[in-house]
Symmetry: C2
Subunit: 455 residues, 2 copies
């Protein structure tokens, strides 16, 4: 076996030329999205009123295995990709484990996360369709930042509705978006009917993701030169994010390394679905076997304690219904610093795979996640995002198990981003003020009691 | 010529094995540091009471051209180096210039800047000498962060005195340091005699870099198991930073590219001295010619409007005297968002080279710097630090000149870091609240009137 460097960078020529559409290899396809009024599967035409035409097609396409990456997107990918696949020599040494640990680091771009992989694709299709701009919502701010960057590159207007509490608590995130020319509005706002209604009913509200989604959708719906875009959950997003897994696999193959375990954090599923895509593909085609592990916060355990059922994707219940592992669209997770993992449901593709026993899931508590994050930062240098640190926790746990059993397993995990804009969370951790709140069975039952009735 | 990718990454095996000591090739050596009491050149023994022994030796060595990088440091370099040399295709297109623009990006590590190159070296020598820890001061926080990371890696205590106003305004920087286990104290503090004295005299003071230096030096001086370390100005720092220039040169050579102009921002000189080292070396040996340009803020113009003379390195006048371009140790630059460029003096090595006409210098005003920063961010993706943006401004100006003359010059500049922790400055820029204040001739004369009398 070749000598493995600390960081494996593919050459530009080795970068993937096509996205891999995992659904094409699934025997049991993910269940279709349903129209919230008719409860009938959404058609391409219906989807095209909300999403760009080509994105709507990608959303529904579950047969084409490889979809070419347009040259313009590939060119932009070259400005921040390939991302490094890092051999965690220092972490291995620190844990005294015989396991070999690798992580794919997606944080080396200004958005600080993997979100840019899909943002640039969605902006490209919007531009190609001749649109003037796009609207979206953002909570933690990673998606909003990524979309702002993508829109600046293609000269599109970008309207971001940022949950008011984040807008006020994270002024730096807001300023990064403004640097890229985005219009950032604290939500709820007076700009939309839904915003005005909420402000009238709850004058002091600090907003919610559900409300911000509704505002972004309303603005896009009222202007035919705009479309709404979303950074996770959707099939199209998982498709674009497959570039993470494809690069990871190519880098491992280049050095003759076979993964045993692939681990990713899971909120809506954008990172996990992208990272595992080619590995799961081999598994589905019977070419190789892998343990694939989704890691979620114990405070928002959709896989490990949720129900596989049709549910609304938003709290306002205006968006389509998806069949997914869900805690109920009315479930409010306890305050948790991993904002990107607080979604009540999960990608339909990942939900189907989990339901079919093709992947595992673990839930980890917040304190142990930050302990792992700090240990990782000190030995590997990189300061991880709270979301990414869920995967670190699970990878470290597997590596520690290898130490106990003496197994030399190869563990690959996704390090989705950096924590530079999450230092208030680290501060709470350092000051001993961090808590975690695991929902009771009763709280979960209450969240699930509101599931819509769909046959 | 080979097809040049967006990002040139050297292989791990191509990384420099030795630092390049520019002074060895200088006919006119930089003037020695003088003892503040005796005004005699400092000996290695005297320096060793403040600095680690090997670092004191490096400080004085102006004859050894190459100094091997110890294996432990090289191993750590591999975790965040080689850094990419980026071909700025998008910026070239945006400016419609025939110039070829390259930048060496040092921001892809948690400290967010090039400071880690020297921090890890200084921590290594402290560990090797059997010390318990090191002390330092930090203003903007990049150096303090880098040193915290390096100390965590080698298991050293790290005591950082952070200027109180920064400590309060930049709690995130402080938290990053705490994540790496550093003890961060707002300065002035009650921990030191000098701190107590200042607090008694000026109860409401928000501190200054000069005061923080004094506190850090005092703590190290009183405990023989500690030494004081510094992130810029010194010869040893420029030596370690030569890794930037060596990688840059190796990457250009690999693709058969010859630079015409090399540009770097200059505060104390750590980045500029490192970036230009091998280019200046060729120039000194008569092997090649380059235009080498230092860029400084118009609000703190030590090269362009300062005097070449012996001066104190700190406002407290307790540190050694250095012969350098200076505005006077009592000069207080107007508030400027590029904290790393607000030093009143300049590295002795760079000062000598400038004095000998081997390099040029330009001063740029803050508003034009942020205009360049935002343009750069939008087309190249990376959000630059205010300091780095001075180099961007000058590089863009040169590229625009090439457009006017039709010359296809190759411009290389140093992009020292990211601006994630400087968003308050971008906010001021976006809100139209940014100003710049260029000192009057009278103000400069006043600063220079306090220069010490040294023959």
């Amino acid at each position: 076996m070749k000598n493995i460097p600390y960081k494996i960078y593919l050459d530009e020529a080795e970068m993937p030329k096509a996205w891999y559409n995992l659904r094409a290899d699934m025997k049991n396809k993910p269940a279709p999205l349903l129209h919230p009024a008719t409860l009938q599967p959404l058609t391409a035409e219906e989807l095209s009123t909300v999403f760009c035409k080509e994105l709507a097609a990608q959303e529904l396409d579950d047969t084409t295995a490889y979809i070419a990456i347009p040259q313009e997107i590939h060119d932009y990918y070259k400005t921040f990709r390939p991302s490094p696949l890092v051999r965690a020599y220092n972490l291995e040494k620190h844990l005294q484990t015989p396991a070999k640990i690798y992580y794919k680091f997606e944080g080396n771009n200004t958005s600080g996360s993997h979100k840019l992989n899909s943002a640039i694709a969605q902006a490209y299709y919007a531009k190609k369709q001749g649109l003037k701009g796009v609207t979206t919502e953002t909570g933690a701010g990673q998606w909003g930042t990524a979309l702002s960057m993508a829109c600046a590159y293609f000269g599109l207007d970008c309207k971001v509705f940022m949950v008011k509490v984040s807008y006020e608590q994270k002024p730096f995130r807001r300023e990064v978006m403004r640097t890229y020319g985005a219009e950032v509005t604290p939500s709820p706002s007076m700009q939309t009917a839904v915003g005005r209604k909420i402000l009238q009913e709850h004058p002091g509200t600090t907003g919610s993701l559900g409300c911000a989604i509704s505002e972004a959708v309303e603005v896009a719906a009222l202007d035919p030169s705009y479309r709404y875009v979303l950074g996770s959950v959707l099939n199209q997003v998982l498709l674009h994010q497959s570039v993470i897994g494809l690069e990871t696999k190519a880098a491992l193959d280049k050095y003759g390394v076979k993964a045993d375990i692939v681990i990713g954090c899971a909120g809506g599923g954008s990172n996990l679905g992208g990272l595992i895509a080619p590995f799961m593909g081999e598994k589905l085609r019977g070419e190789a076997d892998y343990r694939i592990i989704a890691v979620e916060p114990a405070s928002c355990p959709s896989f490990t304690r949720g129900k596989y059922a049709y549910d609304f994707c938003d709290t306002g219940m205006i968006c389509p219904l998806a069949k997914m592992y869900t805690l109920g669209s009315g479930f409010i997770p306890s305050p948790n610093h991993a904002g990107g993992l607080r979604f009540h449901g999960m990608s339909t593709t990942l939900s189907q795979l989990y339901h079919d026993g093709l992947m595992e899931a673990v839930a980890v508590d917040q304190l142990s996640v930050f302990q792992a994050a700090e240990e990782f930062a000190r030995v590997e240098g990189i300061l991880p995002a709270p979301e990414s640190s869920h995967a670190i926790r699970a990878a470290m746990d597997e590596a520690i198990r290898c130490k106990e059993t003496g197994e030399e397993k190869t563990i690959v995990f996704g390090l989705t981003g950096t924590g530079y804009f999450d230092m208030y969370a680290y501060e709470a951790f350092h000051d001993g003020k961090m808590t975690d709140s695991i929902p009771t069975d009763q709280e979960l039952a209450q969240g699930l009691s509101g599931l819509p009735k769909v046959d």
